[in-house]
Symmetry: C2
Subunit: 332 residues, 2 copies
């Protein structure tokens, strides 16, 4: 009669809002309020200080929250373990992905997952890279999909994909018709770059610097979508991970040209918390991701592979992931 109440309390505490916490459980705000009241009455202690507007936890509430979070986690783990006896895969896999890892990168895995494990649920949320790490860190997501993964003490990273960087230009651009180009050909070119706070910007800068190439940065954006739009209107060219422009290439609005004389990939990684034991569902999803990565690309992008890069591998529109995956614009 009240494990659910504890869950609601935790969600309310986490979001610092009754309404939002309730929404997260598909409950009315009224219910959430009553649930917390119930716990408070039971414990004889106020858990939440409502006199502050973004509500605050009382000291007791903090203790209860921390304890219950771990408890719920552990309970999930136990249920999962028991279900393994019958190879039953249930529960929700919460994935936090950077904007540029769109469904395109995961579509196959998502679909296979939904088919193979109909009792499990998948929730994918697209976020800023920092937020992805944050959510994984705070146990708000089971898995994070990030670029240039940087394992730290608390976070483990599994290699996932290596996306070749290609030159992206409008079809009419002077470089667009070549089968491949050397990096030096970009010297002085008008260029649309990422903002400097993003790892990919720093990596690209290093790459160009090593090749002693200086581009003329005319714009900086923090997401790929905007960069592509800027290229389309002729503001300049950009170096982007090839899978992120498949769509535009297949619709002939942009052209991708492989870089011939220098290798550079954007590595994608799957991150998760180190000491958290992953549920079967999470493990299965990782397996699928690793197995069905659209482009393992162990080799490299070489001159003459232009066609291969230019081909969008699949035009099916993504079969929507189950659960509500906040559909935001999909930058970086």
């Amino acid at each position: 009669m009240h494990l659910r109440f504890v869950e609601v309390f935790c969600d309310v505490a986490q979001r610092r809002s009754f309404s939002k916490g309730a929404a997260a459980h598909n409950l009315s705000q009224s219910s959430a309020s009553q649930a917390v009241s119930f716990l408070e009455k039971r414990l004889g202690t106020k858990l939440i200080d409502r006199s502050k507007r973004p509500l605050e936890l009382t000291p007791a509430g903090r203790v209860y929250f921390d304890g219950c979070r771990e408890l719920l986690e552990r309970f999930r783990a136990i249920e999962d373990q028991v279900q393994q006896f019958h190879d039953r895969v249930t529960g929700t896999v919460r994935v936090a992905a950077i904007y540029s890892v769109g469904l395109m990168q995961m579509e196959q895995s998502v679909q296979t997952f939904a088919e193979r494990y109909p009792e499990a649920r998948l929730r994918v949320e697209y976020l800023h890279p920092d937020q992805v790490c944050e959510q994984v860190q705070n146990d708000e997501a089971d898995l994070g999909l990030v670029s240039f993964p940087r394992p730290s003490g608390e976070i483990v990273s599994l290699d996932w994909q290596r996306q070749p960087m290609v030159l992206v230009a409008p079809p009419a651009h002077r470089l667009a018709s070549q089968p491949s180009i050397g990096l030096s050909e970009l010297d002085g070119e008008d260029y649309i770059g990422f903002t400097r706070d993003l790892t990919i910007r720093r990596e690209v800068d290093r790459w160009l610097k090593r090749a002693r190439v200086a581009v003329n940065v005319v714009h900086e954006f923090d997401n790929i979508e905007t960069i592509k739009r800027a290229i389309e209107i002729g503001s300049g060219v950009a170096l982007l991970p090839s899978p992120t422009v498949w769509q535009e290439i297949s619709s002939r609005t942009l052209v991708a040209v492989p870089i011939a004389d220098s290798e550079f990939f954007r590595p994608l990684g799957i991150i998760h918390k180190r000491h958290k034991q992953l549920t079967a569902a999470v493990q299965k999803f990782i397996e699928l991701l690793q197995h069905e990565a659209p482009e393992p690309v162990p080799g490299a992008t070489q001159a003459g592979q232009a066609d291969a890069v230019g081909q969008a591998p699949d035009d099916r529109v993504a079969g929507r992931a189950r659960g509500r995956s906040r559909s935001k614009r999909a930058p970086v």
Copy 2:
């Protein structure tokens, strides 16, 4: 909507019976059955094998049981911790005591506890010494009250009382009228002893042996009550912890004579599991026990104290402990 179910399952599993598990929760057997069914349906796994008559856990059930036991324990701990913020003492203290630690030894503590912490519950169960240890070991009791406590790896023991051993005889016995006697005076005496499996028997034997006294053991019983009855009908005398005969002494059916020339106490201890964090209620009860021990007796039984030993300190009949404390006969 289901923490209670988990509790019921654990109780059912522990008692290996739906009916008994249900009873332990004041539920109908029907409910218990449905509760377990619910969990099984939820997990998609049978937890209990009903085809065996004392029911058995399936492998999955075992895992679930172990996991949930720890979980519930932890949850209790969290709730307890939170309630401490307001010095609220709740929950149940489960005490397992050996037969001979009757209410007489605890009455004051029990009463004070009930008054001071009305929201807490106390359940005392009287058992065979081995069962006391077993219950503490298996987390079926929070505290054990035992004699000759022997702390082991898993069990911690706190000293509680030192009960002076006295000679107990019928009023008409030749030794009964003396203010005190020497141990050697018992040589050759008809004697009612404990059975050899009890620690107290072995300790008494050692004591007598060291004094080079040999008694004539005419009967052996595993509990004090029966020994007292045997003494009353004149079968012999016995060496017993003095508090265990207060009742008979005050009603003049037996006489206790202190031993003058040799000190011997039956030590009582409070045992609990080492690594289990005790709830506030348990801690408070321990405090009461230690503070209100009826006879701390730091010194010793000396000649001339006969009167003191002979006085039953209090004739009030014990105000019954709350919760159902199986009232069994009260041996050892």
